[in-house]
């Protein structure tokens, strides 16, 4: 087994990977950009190396600097996490040329599956149904042609894409040009590849994905599905396992699992991967893409299967055989995950970076919190605003939803805006509780009227607290009148907070 591993990532996933490596007794080398010097993944690591300035292109995307850090610190393997270089075949190749083990699939598999269009071809060869779309990246004329042939709406996607970056729904030809331009530049920034391809729009589909795991000796299993239909801006915000649909139609798990393994085998895949499908209202599933790395939402699978996917990734990369066969995999209970973002859900989910002035975390039975935040930490504006993944497990989906609401009520993040309150609304929503999920869920949720009337006693208590706080402190608010102020503060405190 490796003695030392470099984690080529930041944020919650770098922290999560570090935890398992520590449990395995493996030394951890962290890398960081200037704005991440005091970030948790650096503080938790055994060793750390600076990559460069804040922009990803000058830090977390710098293959040369990362390999240099690995060499300098004597790391034997590299875990790429998700995002950044995790699906970059050149990086995987460079690692192996540098004599480092890349903890993930082979460069060839990444190439065969990392490009969405190549992945589609591969899936077709493997006999997996796919959504109608263009063969590859398109220019404006080709896009227009596809739109006319298949009709609108169409979906624009980055060839190199993932996580909704560079993705746009286009409802009429008039919008095609500007949408194509924006999507392309977004893709360029996110993946350094501007290519965009088109797909036929499927109305109100479910997003259901299969977790696969294979070793380097030809063994491969699936670990069941995750439903990730609750999305905003084409990005998942709530994930769960099992899927409420598949819980009702268990035969779908075997069918989709077999299709996922077939598509992965066709690309000679090993290590952990995820095969994403769209499921239409008629329960037909279509191959969407393969994520050739650990998924953000992998914890829900860990909670229902009882496996540690990062540990298995590392063991597989070290040459181990899968410690189980398909029939050994069992699923227990129900798991839900919320992606807690620094954003304002009531203002188009716009990012809201800043300093965390206060933090109350949910604890107790059935709660797992994968986070990278601490009180006093400033959320940098240069990266994805994911603060934490709040994951719960319970024996049934209903109990898991109740537990998630309880956890959300215990969770407070001060100083910035988050989507915690929005999640509470979603979990209270009748449609969500009934398991009627699809990728347009959030848009339709906002379309429905929500008058949350606030109990009058809460307003009274809030007013009282504000009055006490302001009387105890306001005088300090005025910066100049320092000396006099402080006396006032003490007076105020003594008067109102004896």
């Amino acid at each position: 087994m490796f003695r030392k591993v470099l984690v080529a990532n930041r944020g919650e996933i770098a922290v999560r990977v570090t935890r398992t490596l520590h449990e395995m007794g493996i030394g951890v080398v962290a890398v960081y950009s200037d704005v991440d010097r005091a970030s948790l993944h650096v503080r938790m690591a055994d060793e750390a190396e600076r990559l460069g300035p804040a922009p990803s292109s000058e830090s977390y995307l710098r293959i040369d600097r990362i390999l240099e850090a690995a060499r300098k610190h004597g790391a034997e393997a590299i875990h790429p996490g998700y995002g950044f270089l995790s699906e970059n075949a050149e990086f995987a190749e460079a690692c192996e040329q540098a004599g480092l083990v890349f903890i993930g699939p082979s460069p060839d598999s990444i190439r065969a599956l990392g490009s969405k269009t190549a992945a589609r071809e591969n899936a077709v060869r493997a006999g997996t149904p796919v959504v109608p779309g263009t063969a590859g990246g398109v220019n404006l004329d080709e896009a227009r042609a596809f739109g006319r042939a298949h009709g609108y709406p169409v979906l624009l996607k980055a060839v190199a894409g993932g996580g909704g970056k560079g993705m746009r729904r286009v409802d009429r030809e008039a919008e095609l040009e500007s949408a194509l331009r924006d999507a392309s530049s977004e893709a360029e920034r996110a993946f350094r590849n501007p290519e965009i391809y088109l797909e036929k729009w499927i109305d109100r589909p479910r997003h259901i994905e299969i977790q696969i795991l294979g070793d380097r000796h030809g063994n491969m299993v699936h670990l069941g599905e995750r439903e990730c239909s609750i999305q905003r801006r084409h990005q998942k915000v709530i994930e769960e396992s099992p899927s409420p649909l598949i819980a009702e139609h268990p035969e779908m798990r075997e069918a989709m699992g077999a299709a996922a393994i077939a598509a992965a085998r066709a690309a000679g895949y090993y290590n952990a991967g995820t095969v994403e499908f769209l499921v239409d209202p008629g329960r037909r599933f279509y191959f969407l893409e393969v994520n050739t790395r650990l998924q953000v939402e992998h914890p829900v699978t860990e909670l229902v299967t009882g496996l540690d996917l990062v540990r298995l990734q590392v063991e597989i990369a070290a040459g181990a055989r899968l410690p189980f066969r398909q029939e050994d995999i069992t699923w227990r209970g129900s798991a839900l995950e919320c992606r807690v973002y620094a954003e304002d859900p009531y203002n188009n989910f716009l990012p809201y970076p800043g300093k965390i002035t206060r933090l109350e975390r949910p604890l107790g039975p059935g709660i797992r919190l994968d986070a990278c935040v601490y009180e006093g930490w400033t959320v940098p504006m240069e990266y994805d605003p994911l603060l934490a993944k709040l994951v719960v497990w319970a024996g049934t989906r209903d109990d898991a939803v109740a537990r998630m609401i309880r956890a959300l009520n215990e969770y407070e993040v001060g100083g910035i805006r988050t989507n915690l309150g929005f999640f509470r609304q979603i979990f209270e929503d009748r449609e969500f509780r009934a398991g009627h999920l699809h990728t347009a869920f959030i848009d339709e949720f906002f379309a429905r009227p929500h008058q949350l009337e606030i109990p009058s006693d809460l307003a009274a208590v809030a007013a009282l607290a504000a009055a006490l706080e302001s009387t105890a402190h306001t005088f300090t608010a005025a910066p100049p009148s320092g000396k006099g102020a402080s006396r006032w503060v003490i007076a105020g405190r003594e008067e109102l907070l004896r």
Binding site: Y383, G421, L464
Partner: protein
């Protein structure tokens, strides 16, 4: 002591009759109530009122207090003589439309220049944070009066980036 509050836009008057822990108060001149108040941590109030327990988090924003309890968020302005001036200073710019940053971030593109004529919905500038781009659009037809930032500038939420006025013929 009497205080005028603006609670989520609604005007309230609160009178504190006795200090914590046994805090007697009166809200909007209604009958007197008694709350048991303790402060486990700075900015955190545990309040018992009519036998109910409330854990209240109070956070200070430049213009107001943010009060969170039982998952509900209140923005409360405590009116304070020394603030009146600032109060009046704020408010709508009349016939002038201000384009403000909806989020903290970085200005990546400025699409107009002072003097340009703009249509409703036309892009004015693009702010980016956390790889997410947001195009600020003109809300009305008019002429760009000012652009107060240049590309690459870091801006805070609510900061005015540009103003658009009427066509002066």
């Amino acid at each position: 002591m009497k205080l005028n509050l603006n609670v989520n836009g609604k005007r309230e008057e609160i009178e504190i009759l006795t200090p914590a822990p046994a805090c007697r108060f009166r809200l909007n001149g209604s009958s007197e109530r008694m709350a048991d108040v303790t402060m486990p941590e700075p900015g955190l109030y545990s309040i018992l009122l009519d036998g109910r327990s409330y854990d209240v988090q109070v956070e200070r924003a430049p213009q107001h207090l943010i009060v969170v309890l039982r998952g509900h968020r209140f923005e409360i302005e405590v009116e304070d003589p020394r603030r009146w001036s600032r109060q009046s200073a704020r408010g709508s710019g009349g016939a002038v439309e201000t384009v403000a940053a909806p989020m903290p971030g970085k200005v990546v593109r400025v699409l107009v220049a002072p003097g340009d004529a703009v249509e409703p919905g036309q892009g004015v500038l693009v702010v980016e944070a956390m790889k997410m781009q947001n195009e600020m659009k003109a809300g009305r037809a008019g002429r760009v009066i000012s652009v107060t930032v240049r590309e690459g500038a870091t801006v805070t939420a609510g900061e005015v980036l540009a103003t658009i006025g009427e066509f002066s013929g």
